[in-house]
Symmetry: C2
Subunit: 351 residues, 2 copies
DNA sequence: CTGAAAGCGCTTACAG
DNA sequence: CTGAAAGCGCTTACAG
């Protein structure tokens, strides 16, 4: 019965159409929508009916311009093609949308320059806040972000960028990436390993990767074990990187009996390569990853890993940002708990 | 040297600030930005300098309101937690952002109701276009989408929703999901299998899943093979679903010698369960999945699968939408090519 | 090639 | 509790 209204009108209905139909002013309709208890129940009723009748959907651009809030949050991640970031984004998105915020997403594929472009693009959409991964960003990115005066949250790390010429900082919600490396080292040391390898993601412009290397190396050093340069290889994240890394490590002499990988994708690649090479994991080689991807608990032979609660990270980042937006109070830094999950590592084979 | 300007101004610079500094009208600045060759090179120069000097970033809300284009596209996917959707979103995002469009993303977790909510939320942000997965959506979703009068693209399927009480349709860019099932069936039949099982995702409200079942069953029937009800089990997407599905199938008598899974996540779960059950894959059991996730080419024993070019799908959807927005011409439907990738399937064990 | 001015569709003090 | 009106920061015919 409202077909005529819905189907025949050439124009999308406006707030004023609703107001006219309900016999009130546009101001009242606006209030009924954003501040329902400012209008009398009776009036509200009529307005809601008019809205339903017309199929009215507010225009976010106008609303954002008038109110100064777009109810959108931007996020820039390295890639969605790694489950670990996809999960975090999922956590971010679901928490935001429950609070009426939408997520504008962009990926920079590990390029600082495209991150800058992405930041510009998101800021141009008038996002209310921005989520970044890691503390290391191009000067231009920091400049723009600062100039925009919107809340910015750094995730995935609990450590401000080291090479700070910049005074710029932002609240951090993340993990202690050094501890990740330390947990791996201590675990492998406790099993009796003495010869190690590490396959890291590319550390340039990636503070998380660097800190993981750092923590691993430091913990080994504390135990009196040195990690030679050759025993640390950087590879692009991906199965192939893990495979190439392992291939390299396995031709070293003495051959490492334990390998720590910067994340689970590398670790899985290493595992697959070990299988191809007929290396007996875990008896001839123990592998520890990081992330605890769903697949990591399924795969055989077992893959030990450091569990990162990334979905929770996404949720936490979202709720932190929402509170920041609501109160105007910048939040404290937070460091989410991580834990080592042991599956199928063993001591070095006696020889 | 522009520190004073950048750091001390309390307000974010406006178009009018740029105009004042460059000594032109706001109209000219606006043109310099969106239609550079409408302004003299000389003038443009000065404007660009003023912009750089002030660190001006346009306000997207105002721009969207005035121009009627937000330069944003909304996408609603079932979940980002499956690599296959994450990849498609990545393809979508990168193509869009190259064209100056940003992606507003939402996930509905296989709930039609939350899809409706997501659609409303995105439409309220005044997106210029919308991308949906599958042709089956709540009545309310279709209504809103139609009322919004923006381009809407259906992806992942090449078939309009069957139970169309609705006259609503939208251009389709996707795969022939029936063919996926058919390819799996024909492959397994050609190996000599006669007893089959299928682990499908939940088919309710999921046309893609339904069509895959359909195609599998139809192709078997054409070869004179019936798929008994008990040999088809629906499971939620996830490793656990695959595991549970396989457990069920393996206790049937006669026991299936070949299993087709609705996607690779289910197939991997089935594979893991087979390993747990010490079933020799592929000799005692052949498994075929769908998607060709990166992991699927790495895993042992081999997993045959139907390769879906989902990254390309994302790109294609983006470019189609961009052209639609540019020309106003609704695009034709498109069906992307798929192909069977054979890895480690075998004929049934002789008995 | 450039400017003055209207207008995009909302929100929000300010009155009442 | 409600309305009249100004204003958010752009774009875009319309003139010149």
């Amino acid at each position: 019965m409202n077909d005529a209204l819905e189907t025949n009108s050439v124009e999308r209905p406006r707030l004023s159409d609703v107001a006219a139909l309900a016999g009130v002013s546009t101001a009242t309709v606006s209030r009924a929508l954003s501040n329902p208890d400012m209008v009398k129940g009776n009036t509200r009723e009529r307005i809601l009916q008019a809205i339903a009748r017309l199929g009215y959907v507010p225009d976010g651009a106008a609303r954002a311009l008038a109110s100064g809030r777009a109810r959108m949050v931007g996020a820039i991640v390295p890639t969605l093609d790694n489950a670990i970031f996809a999960r975090a984004v999922q956590g971010l998105q679901s928490t935001l949308s429950n609070a009426g915020y939408q997520l504008l997403i962009s990926a920079h594929e590990y390029s600082l320059a495209s991150e800058t472009e992405a930041a510009r693009a998101l800021l141009e959409r008038a996002v209310d806040a921005l989520v970044l991964v890691g503390a290391e960003h191009a000067h231009e990115t920091w400049d723009m972000v600062r100039a925009s005066r919107i809340p910015v949250l750094i995730t995935w790390t609990n450590t401000a960028a080291a090479s700070e010429i910049l005074t710029t900082t932002a609240p951090l919600i993340g993990f202690d990436n050094r501890l990740i490396g330390r947990l791996a080292a201590e675990h492998l040391l406790s099993l009796g390993h003495r010869t190690f390898g590490m396959i890291s993601g590319v550390t340039r412009h990636n503070d998380r990767a660097r800190h993981r290397v750092d923590g691993f190396r430091t913990a080994l050093a504390e135990a009196g074990v040195r990690l030679p340069e050759a025993n640390l290889i950087e590879q692009p994240f991906g199965f192939d990187g893990g495979r190439a890394g392992l291939k390299h490590l396995m031709q070293l002499r003495p051959r490492p009996t334990a390998v720590f990988c910067g994340n689970d994708v590398l670790a899985l690649g290493a595992l697959f390569e070990a299988q191809s090479m007929k290396i007996d994991v875990p008896h001839a080689l123990s592998i520890v990853g990081c992330d605890n991807l769903p697949i990591s608990s399924q795969i055989t032979p077992g893959l030990s890993t450091v569990l990162l609660p990334t979905y929770e990270l996404g949720q936490r980042a979202a709720s932190t940002l929402l509170e920041w937006l609501a109160t105007g109070q910048a939040p404290d830094n937070a460091c989410l708990p991580i834990e080592l999950v042991v599956r199928g590592t063993s001591g070095p084979a006696p020889n």
